[in-house]
Structure formats: structure tokens, C-alpha cells
Symmetry: C2
Subunit: 152 residues, 2 copies
Amino acid sequence: MHLSKSSIYGLRASILLTKMGGDKNYVTIRELSDELNIPFHFLTKILQELSKAEILESLRGPNGGVRLAKPPNRITLKDIVTSIDVKYDILNCPLGLPGCGEHSLCPLQQDWQNFKLKVERMISEVTLEDLSARSKNNDNDMYHRTHNHLNA
Amino acid sequence: MHLSKSSIYGLRASILLTKMGGDKNYVTIRELSDELNIPFHFLTKILQELSKAEILESLRGPNGGVRLAKPPNRITLKDIVTSIDVKYDILNCPLGLPGCGEHSLCPLQQDWQNFKLKVERMISEVTLEDLSARSKNNDNDMYHRTHNHLNA
DNA sequence: AAGTATTAAGACTATTATATCTTAATATAG
DNA sequence: CTATATTAAGATATAATAGTCTTAATACTT
Ligand code: FES
Ligand code: FES
């Protein structure tokens, strides 16, 4: 599972957005970046990608910000990740041979494809609603660490 | 599973070495790098790491090269990867929160830790012997693609 | 209409990962 | 002892990722 920091930040921001923006109000990127200890301009660029992908909506000017473009139960983890890391490879086999999955050349293939299917199913099924619900039940301070301590 | 190219190359070379070096002869790094389409000097540096970690033995001069330092059934996939990517994080959760695994803060934790355990077990149990045996049963041309086609 | 708050966009810089090049050390062969 | 084949080590170069800065566009408020 090789996610760029952009994807990780995008996911965290989307989850927080889901938790904060139950209503139709826009949340400023500044709020998100402060809360999550993500560099503001960096997060801005990431969320622009999500807006282009029509996962978020944005509005400029006072009272502007970003918000989800559709109900959180219709946005999956995979939607977000694939919008940001266009060419990511979920759970790449350690040997990364050509034709992986098609031909049976890799000595790890059997084990690996098994894992891979499960992970792929998970990320394409879990929605922002699920994630925000689960994290509400947990310590709400989950995001409030300093940037340096995040093991991204 | 975020492996560097160094680790992937190190794994591929170790497997090939196992297949070629059943006896006690040294195999030159040039042979390995040609066969695997890995830049020679790059592979040299990677194998130096494995030598320092006492997974390989090396010898300079004519008839020199590298060979396994112990029987292939005593070298695991994990041995190799951890020698090269000293600070790798096997199957990092997409959210990558602090204290992952210790505290229950992450909404994906339950699913993810489950995968992670299985993958960790696999890489710490599978040995070079296993890998080379399995790949012998497969198409022996598995490594003979051009570098550009490898989806590392 | 003017001023302000905000995202959009793109240029720029910094850091890390990947790859190459050069020289040194060492072992063998003749 | 000399020439040669090879790994060791480190300096340099290139590419990819991460992060910063500046300016433009837009929408609200007064
Ligand atoms: S290269 Fe596809 S499973 Fe290993
Ligand atoms: S951060 Fe540990 S499982 Fe998600």
C-alpha cells in the first residue's frame, strides 16, 4: 500500500470534513490544515484535486471553503485515493514483477493476490460515513498531534 | 507495503542468486544485474548492504562475486527487506496515525491490523528456498523482461 | 464601489529516492 | 611482481515527492 502523503492528507481532511460539516456549511481549508497539522498551501492543492474530481465543492470569498459534494455514504476511500494518486498501486507485491495478476510467474503470487483482493475490497467499500462514524466513537483527539509525530 | 526499489531489487537478486548458486561458487554482480535489468552500480550498493548484514558473502578479484552466507532456508524475505529498508513500515495504514497499533484511534484499525498481521507473518516465514523453489516451477523467463516493463 | 476573505493556479524551493561515475582496495593468474 | 577482474566506497547527478510563496480570481460585506 504505497500512498503518497498527498493521499494520506486528503483522506484525513475528508474524514474531518465529514465530521465537521454535517450540515451544508463550508469549512475553510485553514481550519482543516490547522486542525490536522498539514501545511495550508499543500492541503489546498490536494483539495483542489478532490474538487476537480467532484468529491468536494469549494467556494471562494468570505464564508467560503470546502464541503462534500455528495453524501458521505457515497464517497469511498478508494474514490479519494484514486483522485489524488492517479497511478497508485494498491498493495504492490514485494517482487513487483511484470504482468502481475495476469500470468503466474511470481513465487509470492498466490499469497499476495489473496491479500490484495481483500484490501481492495475494503478500500472500495468503506465510505467516509463509516470512517467518520468510527472515529467519532474513538478519542476525538486523534488528529490533534503535532506534525512531527505523525508517522505518515 | 512500501518497499523501496532497493529492497525489490535486493529480493530479486537474492532469489536469482539462490537459483544459480546452489553450489558454493560466487556469482558476479554483473551477471545478476544483466539478468535482472538492474543498474550494475546500483545493485552493487544494495548487495553491499546485504553483505554487511551477513546475508551475503562477497569476494573481490577474479572468480569473485557474491553468494549466500547461509543456507537459503534460513534467510527470510523479512531478513532481506529489513536489511535494506532499515526503517520500512510493512503495510502502513492509509491513515498512518500516530501510535498506530497501540492505541485504538484509527477508524480503519481493526481491519488493517488484521491484514498487517498476516502479511507480517508471511514475510517473516517465507524463505529464499521457498521463493526459489516456487519460481523454478514457474516460467523461468520471469526475470528476463526489459527494465522499462517492470512495474516496480 | 471598495475592502476583505477565501480558494485557484502556477512558479519556486527543499528533500528524498534513484541512479551513475570515479577511484580505491583486494584477490587471482600469469 | 604485474596485469586483470572484481567488489567497496564515496562523490555526483537526476528524478520524484513534498512543501512554500506569490499572484489572480471570486464572492461576500459594508
Ligand atoms: S509480482 Fe504479482 S504477486 Fe508477486
Ligand atoms: S493508523 Fe493504525 S490502523 Fe490506521
